[in-house]
Symmetry: C2
Subunit: 495 residues, 2 copies
């Protein structure tokens, strides 16, 4: 049996479902093919249950400050791991069910089978074939487990498995200090699990600025047990396992594997697309149009291996959905980049990272913000820590990006990435309101430092005069010239 459709979407995750929304504006003749669990990676095993878990750990952690606040009895508080995990699963189920509820209007388009390309326009589903004018691959990602560790599968817990735990182990190794490793590792530590975390580099949460990398590594090392080195699994030991790195070996009950996620592309028959795949089996694709070569096939979301961030996957889905139903292929500008690790303090990159700016050879200056001595941060025990590095164009002080380790860093990251996206200069930012006492106030000194280092002469007064005198400072707006060509990120116009 062969069905003919305008668009076939492989994968009903965030990218696939966003693509569906856009595709459905243009055609009713489409299918979504997914044989896995529904509800999205984010809601089932990713951002949602992890935030629910972290919330409990952070609230429990606050007890260590209660005595100093003047609240007694904190030593009696006890976490019940099985109840904590059960509540996390209950929330997770609600979030995943919510996604499925939203799928009800187009459930007739959902095919619960596995798809495999026969050629760029044909998908084999086993007992039927789909002829599709356009296909969107949105198969997502999964935790990568290196071949050599497969024999230890029963002591390794990946993020697909973590939230299924009915209890927490006493001793746990955490492999990797990226977003997942630091978020779950810190939460486990705060709930009383004996954690040993391993990181190959003196960094955390994907930071790229060397001074911030060491700050973060040292800050989190003060709270939890972190080893610098290449983690490895040595041998089984009773019900547990011996892990190690250059500096020693330790016996733990389980290993939380947080070394990254890999695109799900195996078994999709990409070798039948008639194009060359790279070493990892990935096809070439245009990051701005998501088109694979000149084929009527688009690669969206985690499956394309660019980033594993929900809002980027959703944007990918939109772009793929648009291009799969448009008369001609369009390229789209990316949003101002932003990544957040929900640790305490949060780790975030807003706009361009130090590494990106350096790689592009941009002439930039840096301003530092610190929460170590900020009044509001000092009132809240445990919050008086954090540093932001804010990068701006050396010529005119236009904000380009920031890396930070900060209390309420998720909110600072939004403010800073919006400021970058709006094309504000450091002087513009200083003319914005800062309430008192708020954590945002720490940013002021960074903006001030930037102004002192830029080539354009800095105004000596934050407020704008009411005047028609053209010599006084006005809000400098981004140039209005449209961005040329498809390959440019919207930020590059400011550089």
């Amino acid at each position: 049996m062969t069905r003919e459709v305008d668009v076939a979407i492989i994968g009903a995750g965030t990218a696939g479902l966003t693509a569906q929304e856009i595709v459905a504006r243009k055609t009713d003749n489409y299918v979504i093919i997914d044989d896995g669990p529904l509800g999205t990676t984010c809601a089932r095993v990713g951002c949602m249950p992890s935030k629910a878990f972290i919330t409990v750990a952070n609230d429990f952690h606050k007890r260590i400050f209660f005595e100093e606040y003047g609240i007694s009895g904190a030593n009696v508080l006890r976490p019940n791991y099985s109840r904590i995990m059960a509540r996390v699963r209950m929330l997770r189920d609600e979030f995943a069910d919510g996604v499925i509820q939203e799928m009800l209007p187009f459930m007739d388009k959902l095919i619960r089978k596995r798809a495999r390309f026969v050629d760029p326009n044909t998908l084999d589903l086993g007992d039927e074939q789909i002829r599709a004018n356009h296909t969107i691959i949105a198969t997502g990602s999964k935790p990568c487990i290196p071949e050599k560790w497969k024999p230890y599968k029963d002591v390794i817990i990946d993020t697909d498995q973590f939230f299924e735990l009915s209890d927490l182990p006493e001793k746990m190794a955490v492999f990797g200090l990226g977003a997942v490793g630091i978020e779950l590792g810190q939460a486990l530590h705060r709930l009383g699990v004996d954690i040993i975390a391993f990181s190959r580099r003196k960094s955390a949460g994907g930071l790229t600025d060397p001074s911030l990398q060491s700050y973060a590594f040292e800050h989190f090392s003060k709270e939890m047990n972190i080893k610098l080195g290449t983690a490895d699994i040595r041998r089984k030991s009773g019900n547990g396992v011996v892990v190690g790195c250059e500096s020693g070996e330790w016996t733990v009950d389980r290993i939380l594997l947080a070394t990254g996620r890999c695109p799900v592309v195996q078994g999709l028959g990409l070798e039948n697309l008639g194009i060359e795949l790279d070493d990892r089996g990935m096809p070439p694709f245009d990051p701005d149009t998501l088109q694979i070569k000149d084929l009527p096939v688009f690669l969206a979301g985690d499956a394309n291996g660019r980033k594993t961030i929900l809002h980027e996957a959703a944007d990918d889905g939109s772009i793929a959905g648009y291009n799969a139903t448009a008369d001609s292929i369009c390229c789209f500008k990316k949003r101002t980049p932003m990544t957040i690790t929900f640790s305490s303090p949060d780790i975030a990159i807003a706009g361009l990272s130090y590494r990106e700016l350096t790689a592009r050879g941009v002439a930039f200056v840096t301003g530092n913000a610190s929460w170590e001595e900020l009044g509001r941060a000092r009132m809240i025990l445990g919050k008086a820590a954090g540093i932001a590095r804010i990068y701006a164009n050396r010529k005119d002080g236009r904000l380009l990006g920031a890396e930070l380790v900060a209390p309420a860093g998720e909110h600072m990251a939004h403010l800073l990435s919006w400021a970058v996206g709006a094309g504000l200069t450091a002087a513009d930012a200083l003319a914005m309101p800062f309430y008192h006492p708020v954590l945002e106030e720490a940013l002021r000194s960074a903006f001030g430092q930037i102004m002192k280092q830029t080539d354009d002469s800095a105004p000596d007064f934050e407020l704008e005069r009411c005047s028609e005198d053209p010599s006084i400072r006005k809000m400098k707006r981004p140039r209005m010239s449209p961005v040329r060509g498809c390959s440019m990120n919207s930020l590059t116009q400011y550089i």
Copy 2:
């Protein structure tokens, strides 16, 4: 004895000290006159100790969710009022001492006496006179206690006295649901003090949008005992006092008076300035230059009765300091307005309020954001509440202001007021990054609703195309024409 100076600053609070900083750039021949306690209203009795107090109350409050999180033992937690208050005072002393430390370099300019105008250029200090080319009045504000309640002074606690309490009363009435009333009232309630709060209007925290006013009033009424009516003091009762409103009367131990602050202008000899004062004894002044009539006298900070907000007082100090040392009087544009009440959820106004927009006859549309069902808010028990009303120009969707009751509302208020200040439209805001899962995501639907209501046709796609096609949406920037005249707020250019 008569001393001649370029500038005399009366008051060493936030406005006076900021004025000093600007004045000292131009002249060394100035004095600061203050016979009261040093350290600023904010640090001694205002924003700082109140935030320290609220922090403890909110952390203690979280225990009611511990059982549901899976943490046992919360019923044993007990607040020790005297230790809590002692810690708040310790922090307060640190903050106030910090201010005094920063004054050390110019302590020789500080005169610890009371000043009284003899004429616009002469101040009488009792045993000496100051002849000043320019004078800045920055005498601040104090809690207003109505004449009729003065006999009850021993049962009334105002904010000057609150943080001196060595213990907390068992039963307390709170008069007023402005920022101070709702912040301290909620914190007292959360710490277990039996609170009865009175508000004349169905509102809280200075909200002006009718729908938000009722939402806030009802939301806070669910948590604490709030009576709608005009609070009055009926009679003493033992060591306590009977308070009442239209709907009944109640006996409490003490009354927290949070009905507002009044400018400190009595005894300054303003009647000797040769100008007419209003009913309250206030002189006329230009809000943009802070000059009193055409005199060489400026009125800055809380003393001018405009707002009692630290960052506005600091801006006032800068403007007054600038104008007191400039060759000609300059007018300055205000920052985008913002007020925040640090309740849970926070209450805030960012940009222009509903009342201001309505009074100015602006054609605006409104978008609603809600945190009631937002995923991230639901994970954190007690946080799934809140509404924002975002106002935008009806024609082009340019953001003008917002009122909100929201979790992390202090951060939402910064994001929104910066978006207003940067001249973003709702479409621009939707093209900004929103991470997942964050509380900022709730704002998206408000921006979307605004776009549907504006006259200009809304793009059907959040992302911008890479294209030179002029018909596609580009970031619409504020008009670059300078603001004309002194009396215009920088926001008016968008209306």
